[in-house]
């Protein structure tokens, strides 16, 4: 299943790139993120609690950065395990384009969900991606609008 979307961020592209690659920033803005640790330059491990309606499950995710093309594009490969709830695999391509002093971020996600999560939630996977990415980018964008705000 493929989902894509875009967000306008009020900052220059290099600045957006730096923030998107800053573990401390991501930890604050990823919805439900309980921990995010960098293993090496391109590998991360995250613990994320997904609370979507009747579902409340913890996922341990292995994240790998691929095809890094600073400051324009990269790909995120994510494998998540949620114990009894099931598991998910995702590939997200992110592209940053300059628009005057703003940056237009375009993402495209390919997602596979397995286990009980797929049984009960397959009809709402796209909705969930839209909700969580909106949540992430809205708070992510807000930090540029309030340069004095500590993030």
């Amino acid at each position: 299943m493929n989902i894509d979307g875009q967000f306008q961020l009020p900052a220059l592209r290099q600045k957006v790139w730096n923030k998107l690659n800053d573990v401390d920033v991501l930890r604050d803005f990823i919805p439900g993120c309980e921990s995010l640790d960098q293993k090496d330059e391109t590998h991360f491990e995250a613990v994320i609690r997904a609370k979507i309606g009747p579902i409340n499950a913890k996922f341990v995710s292995q994240i790998e950065l691929q095809e890094m093309n600073e400051p324009q594009s990269y790909t995120l490969s994510v494998r998540s395990k949620g114990g009894a709830a099931g598991m998910g695999e995702g590939l997200a391509s992110v592209e940053l384009n300059e628009e005057d002093t703003d940056t237009l971020l375009h993402y495209s996600v390919e997602l596979k969900v397995k286990g009980k999560l797929a049984q009960i939630g397959s009809r709402l996977i796209n909705n969930t991606v839209v909700k969580l990415s909106n949540q992430f980018f809205e708070s992510f964008a807000a930090q540029f609008e309030n340069p004095g705000k500590k993030v």
């Binding site: 979507i52 499950a57 009980k116 999560l117 397959s122 709402l124 796209n126 909705n127 909700k131």
Partner: protein, 284 residues
């Protein structure tokens, strides 16, 4: 599969429920009909430590006239909505939509309060509430507040209901002799979750629509009121050209999200098709 072990308390008052919610926070869940909660417990997609059973709270029951509105207690089951004379008389939209809510076994247990608290985007009653201008009575530690349906649905499974609050009743304005309504939904099998649905409520005078609320469901993260499309249809004599022009607004104002069974394009196609059909029906 069986759920993880949990404690179970039968609440004896609304205040008792709120106290327990405050005490246990995220680890407590209210159980009413249990038709959405129990499957996720059994599949271990959630594992709260405490279930608060509200089924003994008679103050949350009943369907009664309250001035120019009909008040429905949160614990009212779908099957009661189906057979109630006041609903049939005063809320024809709900009377026609309720037959499409899930299956008999689920309607026997599921409640309107549970339905609106969960707010599944494919659910019929949230869309009806929005189309009818319902008001939701919510009680929390700061007392009671009334929220309009238009302000209640926030995002996917996200409503204005806060963590230590409980929905106690929903009230609806009564239909008049001028009221027009319609219901359509596309499901793969009767009783399944819809892939696209439309509930419509409005008023007509002298052959023209004076108010109109077409609400689409199962197309996005919340039910969506197509207000721009509706505005094009008000106070004019309906004809095919006017309807087609109004339908074009749906391309712009419906934030359609496709799913595994039904693409974005198909949902939009169905949305237009259903509105065209219902408008044709009421225009006879």
């Amino acid at each position: 599969m069986k759920p993880r072990s949990f404690s179970f308390t039968t609440a004896h008052s609304v205040e008792h429920v709120i106290g327990l919610l405050q005490e246990h926070g995220d680890e407590a869940k209210i159980i009413a009909g249990g038709q959405s909660l129990v499957p996720t417990l059994n599949m271990r997609l959630s594992a709260p430590q405490l279930l608060i059973d509200i089924s003994a709270l008679d103050e949350l029951r009943g369907i009664s006239l309250d001035g120019d509105r009909l008040r429905i207690g949160a614990l009212t089951r779908h099957v009661e909505l189906q057979s109630n004379k006041l609903i049939a008389q005063h809320l024809p939209l709900i009377a026609s939509a309720i037959n499409h809510v899930a299956h008999v076994a689920i309607r026997n247990r599921g409640t309107i309060g549970g339905n609106l608290s969960l707010a599944d985007p494919a659910s019929e009653l949230p869309a009806c509430s929005l189309a009818l201008g319902a008001e939701l009575s919510i009680v929390g530690n700061k007392g009671k507040r009334i929220v309009k349906a238009g302000d209640y649905f926030k995002d996917l499974y996200e409503t204005d209901l806060q963590a230590n609050e409980i929905l106690v009743a929903i009230s609806f304005p009564l239909a008049t002799t001028n009221t027009v309504h319609g219901f359509r939904e596309f499901v793969r099998r009767r009783g399944d979750f819809a892939s696209c649905g439309l509930v419509m409520n409005g008023e007509r005078q002298d052959g023209k629509l004076t108010s109109l609320a077409p609400v689409f469901f199962a197309i996005s993260n919340t039910p969506v009121l197509a207000s721009k499309c509706a505005a094009k249809l008000l106070n004019k004599t309906l004809n095919d050209d006017l309807i087609e022009e109004a339908l074009l607004e749906l391309d712009r104002e419906l934030p359609v999200i496709g799913d595994i069974h039904t693409s974005t394009e198909m949902k939009l196609h169905l949305a237009k098709h259903y509105l065209r059909e219902i408008l044709g029906e009421i225009n006879v």
